[in-house]
């Protein structure tokens, strides 16, 4: 009997593990939400020969470490608020770690969450809660370091 219970518990745990899906998939079909999804296959097709292809910024090394990019935007304040609520609850449930919180003078709140360790990030999420009712969720899946992110952002900063 103990063996049966143990098997059941183990199977249930395995089922829960397998059941974990991308938490933001829910929004992709939601009305009033614009969704952009770029898969690893599509990213592998992006031209790599010239920096000019990326507006003069070398982001190849970062893109090569990504497996997908998902961008969700909504200008409808009601839907955006719902999106934020669901996103925040999902982030809490699935133990994402808050990387950085930026509050602009205009009231825009940007949160960066990550899953994994700084030297081995599996997922990086940017949640922009705009003051004008527009909200953006950006999710990067892959296997990269925090240092890769810093180098990529520095490349864009230098271009300015």
């Amino acid at each position: 009997m103990k063996k049966i219970i143990f098997t059941l518990v183990l199977s249930f745990a395995a089922t829960l593990l397998f059941a974990q899906k991308n938490p933001f998939e829910k929004f992709t079909d939601m009305d009033g939400v614009t969704c952009v999804y770029i898969s690893k296959n599509m990213m592998s097709l992006l031209p790599k020969e010239s920096k000019t292809q990326f507006s003069g910024v070398d982001v190849n090394s970062f893109i090569n470490k990504l497996s997908s990019i998902l961008i969700l935007t909504s200008e409808n304040s009601k839907i955006a608020q719902e999106m934020m609520t669901v996103a925040n609850s999902r982030i809490k449930e699935q133990n994402y770690e808050l990387l950085m919180r930026v509050k602009s003078d205009d009231g825009e709140l940007v949160n960066f969450f990550m899953k994994g360790k700084p030297e081995n990030i599996e997922e990086l999420i940017m949640v922009v809660d705009g003051s004008d009712g527009e909200s953006v969720i950006m999710q990067f899946l892959g296997d990269f370091k925090l240092q890769d992110v810093q180098e990529m952002t520095k490349s864009f900063d230098k271009k300015k």
């Binding site: 009997m1 063996k3 049966i4 098997t7 059941l8 199977s11 395995a14 089922t15 397998f18 059941a19 899906k21 991308n22 998939e25 992709t28 969704c35 952009v36 999804y37 770029i38 898969s39 296959n41 599509m42 990213m43 097709l45 992006l46 031209p47 292809q53 990326f54 507006s55 910024v57 982001v59 970062f62 893109i63 997908s68 990019i69 998902l70 961008i71 950085m100 919180r101 930026v102 602009s104 940007v110 960066f112 940017m126 922009v128 953006v136 950006m138 990067f140 992110v149 810093q150 990529m152 952002t153 490349s155 864009f156 900063d157």
Partner: protein, 187 residues
């Protein structure tokens, strides 16, 4: 004959004689006055032969009921053991069946889920060029916001450095003034 009687007497004491042989011995001792053996043998054999063992009348019934009871207990014990074995066997069969069902179920479920995961997120753009523009725009927006945070942190670091420098400077000035005052007081 005498040898045979001797042998029979020995067998009698060992308890190996049958009823015919005992009757032979009794008749021998009653008929023959001058027996080969001592009178003690004669007395013993005659006493033992004449003694009637009284068997209780209910003994047979009691023994029969006791034997029946033992037999019933044995039968019941066998039945219980067989029942236990049967239950154990059924448990094992059920356990194996449940395990197999779970493994097969999880396998099917996982395949179904995997298929579902791929189907839900679809590629937004059809061409790499469109995707490229979107990727660059996304990374620009991300970098812009990320730099805001890191920039603020750098500014904060600079402010802290400035404040520490001012504090160091003030402390040094205070120490120097104290030293000058001590020198003047000594003079």
């Amino acid at each position: 004959m005498q040898n045979k009687i001797e042998i029979l007497i020995d067998q009698f004491y060992k308890g190996e004689t049958n009823s015919k042989e005992e009757e032979l011995l009794i008749s021998y001792f009653t008929q023959a006055a001058d027996s080969l053996r001592s009178d003690t043998d004669r007395d013993v054999i005659q006493t033992l032969s004449s003694a009637k063992i009284s068997v209780p009348s209910e003994l047979e019934q009691k023994m029969a009921s006791m034997i029946d009871r033992w037999e019933m207990q044995e039968t019941q014990e066998k039945m219980r053991a067989a029942y236990r074995n049967k239950i154990e066997f059924r448990k094992r069969i059920i356990g194996i069946a449940v395990s197999v069902l779970l493994v097969v179920g999880i396998g099917f479920w996982y395949q179904y889920q995997s298929a579902g995961n791929h189907s839900e997120l679809k590629e937004t753009f059809d061409t790499p060029q469109e995707s490229q523009e979107a990727v660059v725009a996304a990374l620009q927006l991300f970098s812009h916001n990320f730099s805001k945070g890191t920039g603020a942190m750098e500014q904060a670091d600079e402010q802290v450095d400035k404040a520490l420098k001012i504090i160091d400077q003030l402390l040094n000035e205070k120490v120097a003034n104290t030293a000058v005052n001590h020198t003047l007081e000594k003079k």
